[in-house]
Subunit: 342 residues, 3 copies
């Protein structure tokens, strides 16, 4: 067998470091495609001039594009036989990615727990994206439920990692040189500063995008994510292609520009749930809730902790129903930190 | 309210200058996408070598792509509450846009007229696209009908700008250095020179492209045009997404290569009407009529004034029916100047 | 008539050299789009760093993208009135194409044979892609059946070129500097070396991609291939758009990564048949057969001759039925040479 059957639960060993294949160099092409695929309008990512006025050398690749690129590399080793993508934690963006940079990815197995049914187990990995200078540009923990190949394989010792419920504000990394003291709010699109957002405040982002098969496949392929379920209409019994959860994340984040135009740089992913599957034809909408606020040491730079909820419709600000279960129209519930001018 | 409700008729003041948000840096990525989205084959825009042989430093971004980028920036301020896009005039391209350039946009309100029903009014703006060196790269007048928020708001003094029916040939700006004396007609694709086109001549461009939802959304997003009606299938009662008029312009212009391969650089937009809406599934075809011819001072460079008509089928060269109304199959009637080797 | 009616059979003269129009400069944009359109993961084409570790200056444009670009240029002169694309032979890639390169194309008529019905004939051309330094980057023979315009036109003398059944291994051109002695199999995605592939071995590539109208049109336009049948849903009586055969080639080649991750550089096209037409909605799958193996003089570099079969389903490894006819689920049968680390 020369093709990759993917790893099964019993193939993961605690502490093992997996080097993922197919490093990727990004260019203005990936940046242009990100703008074609999502209604992304963050000025810092759209304009080299704006980025320079904020102390960066040029406009970086969207932080979520960097995340998708790294995530995509992990799929053949981590989630080819995954039954479910269970969660994210401790995601941190540590350095911007610029055109010309090459990203590779590696994951360390940090937790294992066989399910009581003996047929599958949960694998926790800490994944790092690394650029051509060996700098870790982002890092996150993800856990997935993976099937066993051999039901008789011995269960590993249960190890559940101790994960922070949210990245502490003191651990947020502000890109070197970032300075929002000369920030141009007119060019950025909205006047709202860090101090204008109150914890508890909720924003309906109003706009919606109806998603198409061609679009989510272009996006998912762009990140070299090869999970069959996104591309092969014959794979699921219902003939539907499941949209990559990251496509919904990027769509919702881009939609959140309307009300959060100055929420420029994503610096941490505290957690996230893909509450319900998303399919072609869905009109994705989004709302946000301000969860927390923090200062940073960088000039003019504050941080907001936000909940970003993507929906397929339904009333804005509705999230969970009886028993704490996500309502059927909720696609995504994401918890992240973002840098905002003060 | 942190989201942008858009401006209503009573929010515009004569003489006001509106700085539009989200400057944009273009790269080879936008150029490649333009070629993927439209059957564009103009040699000057396809090949750096060909552009250099015509005296330019490299292949510019398609002139219409530059127009779309600037237009897109104006949408949140000008046409979010527009009922109709009424017309264009006095459009002039003043300098080519190259990969690496950053475009911003500003609009001056040059006309206002409340409608007799008191519910809406017409707003005329002169929009300028500006590059990172502060050079105006293109300029055009556009007028739209905009709803009033408050029907009791006082009507402004009526001011209707005096607009030229067409940009005079003497006002056309030929890009610095452009020289068609060594123009390679074989590489460009057709032998027809400026002098081969006679005013009154009409050309059926023969080819057709059936448009898809994913394509027009990719294009419209690429220009950061966020009008809901292009993206959200739940927005219109009929569940259809209206295709951005500029997508039809670019499609028709690209189709016109077949017969106008040497109509290289768009230098003026004299006027234009989106005669009927366009939806996914339409097969767009195009025909042209030569309206005028002019010489320029640049070596080997002539100008043609052309009518470009996009249709959803129907007989070529049919345009208007009884009462001067556009026929149902006419999508676009555009009047522009283009530079052609002599 | 200013539009291009295409050439008919009687318009081709033996020995004639046709210079094709519209040279094209490629950038990171084309590279990014190739990754969005196909599940391409060859490390050498994905990462500048990986390419440098193999002795190249940076990651080249995918070899098939270079082929499509050259092929696209020939369409208006060779296949606008073609009834059928009959075959390929003697295809050789002679130098990699890098971002910044400009490609032009020319074809020499090397064979002519009028059909016995007197209504059409077969034209053989040798096409060369040439970069901005005048270097031939690829060369192939293709033959098509073309209609006659004038059934009374005299038949040309029949000349059938003598074509090699396969490019001899000794004629394969290894890119200058290519060195696989330090090849990183982990980063490339699979451990299988040249010596691990045995002639006769067959590999089912397992994955499948369901193709969409928007995708194949984006791809085909990107290569400036303008054949109506790919874009205009009103062109065929059944309202279907025929997918460009090259789209199927690239899709199948990208799918073949799973099992052939180290089959990095395509250096020869021995032959190929588009066995059945492909339409939107088809789920493309692929399998390969190892046909031959050869050594090269370059350090660590071996060559494999492979059959690549694209299907719309059906049993893997089934190809032809009674009478040697391709089975209905076979889309493509391609025979090529590829460079692999030893």
């Amino acid at each position: 067998m020369k093709t990759n059957p993917g790893r099964f639960f019993e193939d993961y060993k605690l502490g093992e470091v997996i080097s993922h294949a197919v490093p990727r160099t990004v260019s203005g092409g990936e940046r242009a495609l990100y703008h074609a695929l999502y209604p992304a309008r963050g000025a810092l990512y759209s304009s080299d001039e704006f980025a320079r006025s904020c102390g960066l050398p040029q406009a970086p690749l969207d932080d979520l594009a960097a995340f998708h690129l790294v995530f995509g590399k992990t799929v053949p080793d981590i989630s080819l036989n995954a039954v479910a993508n269970l969660g994210y934690a401790e995601g941190r963006w540590l350095a911007p990615v610029y055109p010309g940079d090459t990203l590779a990815a590696r994951s360390t197995v940090i937790g294992l727990k066989q399910n009581s049914n003996g047929k599958s187990g949960v694998v926790w990995v800490k994944t790092e994206g690394v650029n051509q200078r060996g700098e870790v540009v982002l890092s996150y923990v993800r856990w997935v439920m993976v099937r066993k190949r051999d039901l008789d394989a011995e269960a590993p010792m249960t190890t559940i990692p101790d994960l922070a419920p949210a990245v502490p504000a003191s651990d947020l990394v502000v890109p070197e040189g970032l300075d929002f003291t000369g920030y141009d709010f007119t060019l950025a699109g909205e006047p709202h500063r860090w101090g204008d957002y109150e914890p508890g405040e909720r924003i309906d982002h109003v706009d919606g995008v109806t998603v198409e098969e061609a679009e989510h496949m272009l996006a998912t392929r762009l990140w070299q994510n090869t999970a069959k379920v996104h591309f092969d209409a014959t794979f699921r019994p219902d003939g539907q292609r499941l949209i990559y959860g990251g496509h919904v994340i990027s769509m919702a984040r881009a939609l959140s520009f309307n009300g959060l135009a100055n929420a420029q740089m994503v610096v941490a992913l505290n957690g996230g749930a893909h509450a319900n599957p998303c399919f072609s034809g869905t009109t994705v909408k989004a709302w946000s809730e301000v969860l927390d606020r923090a200062e940073t040491a960088a000039p003019g730079v504050g941080a907001l902790r936000l909940r970003l909820v993507a929906t397929s419709g339904g009333e804005p600000f509705t999230l969970k129903g009886e028993g704490g279960k996500y309502l059927p129209h909720v696609l995504l519930d994401l918890d992240y930190w973002v840098l905002v001018p003060r």
